[in-house]
Symmetry: C2
Amino acid sequence: MKLHGYFRSSASYRVRIALNLKGLSAEHLSHHLRKGEQRAPAYLAINPQGFVPTLQAGGSVNLTQSLAIIEWLDETHPLPPLLPKDPLRRAQVRAFAQVIACDTHPIQNLKVLARLRELGLSEEQVTGWAAWANREGLAVCEKLIALEAGPFCFGDAPTIADLCLVPQLANARRFGVDVAVFPRLLQAEAAAKALKAFADAAPERQADAE
Amino acid sequence: MKLHGYFRSSASYRVRIALNLKGLSAEHLSHHLRKGEQRAPAYLAINPQGFVPTLQAGGSVNLTQSLAIIEWLDETHPLPPLLPKDPLRRAQVRAFAQVIACDTHPIQNLKVLARLRELGLSEEQVTGWAAWANREGLAVCEKLIALEAGPFCFGDAPTIADLCLVPQLANARRFGVDVAVFPRLLQAEAAAKALKAFADAAPERQADAE
């Protein structure tokens, strides 16, 4: 398998964790987002959105969108499971993941921030926007699992929720968000980061890290 | 079941289609988004994000996030299926849905547009932003299914992809996007709209339509 990604891309980070948890290895191909390499014609032929990650799993289909890739990994390599078995619990885990993957991360991705700059916003306003998106999303996440015993987001093993949370917390810190106000999220992050699968997927551990 | 929604919310629209396709009925509770009713304390107790939709299915869990709700409906009411059986095809359908649900709709939702106004953007710039988000997302979607025979997004029956596409095209038109440049998407939309499940879920057919 080949994973097209970028060390600091939080969506790529989610998939790296999933591959590690499943014990799968992939060749990592880096596309430097700040240099615009994801918009090179050769990459657009693989992923017409020009986003990372893309997983090439050997067939003719290029898998895109991190949550779709992770669900595919979970369906084709069921152990360890990344979703609970109970449908209601699955829905809660997916909803948590989607608060991050739909309503938080895309609001603060490079493309949106670049558009804000084009519209004349200052660098301070752009960073403020990204911090706002992270604070709003993570505050919801904190409430969603406030009554969950943990230590992970949902129970005693990592799920797709944790795969989304850990990279998003890294983004939040990069934009200057005080994450100490999210104690339950930090508990889940600590449990996750104690696992080698999460530690090895961290941005600073990737070959393309700067 | 109770579905908390709003006639014009495209995420609510997705869930209405899913319920109709499954032959399920729900009591529809409207929260007027432009009046801020989704931020009323009583609703925040049900959905801490203050977004619609929320599905209350009888138990203690309030189901949130439209794609998580739809996957739950598909898992608990399997017929007709809203995802193909083959894992790779499922991944393609989910990726298409996520281009809309992660990278298009949240960029142009009311909350983000309100934030742009707070930062001093003109009404013209805000509408331009929303149109841009729709054009970018739908252009990707058009490419993702360009080689699919159809008539639906993926094959001869509706999937989660169509449930996301039809409401997003309605948004795009509302923001003045010329959708004629997406012929394959329009083909899928026509196939979907010919079904009663889609027609009955349309915003203008809802009791709270203005």
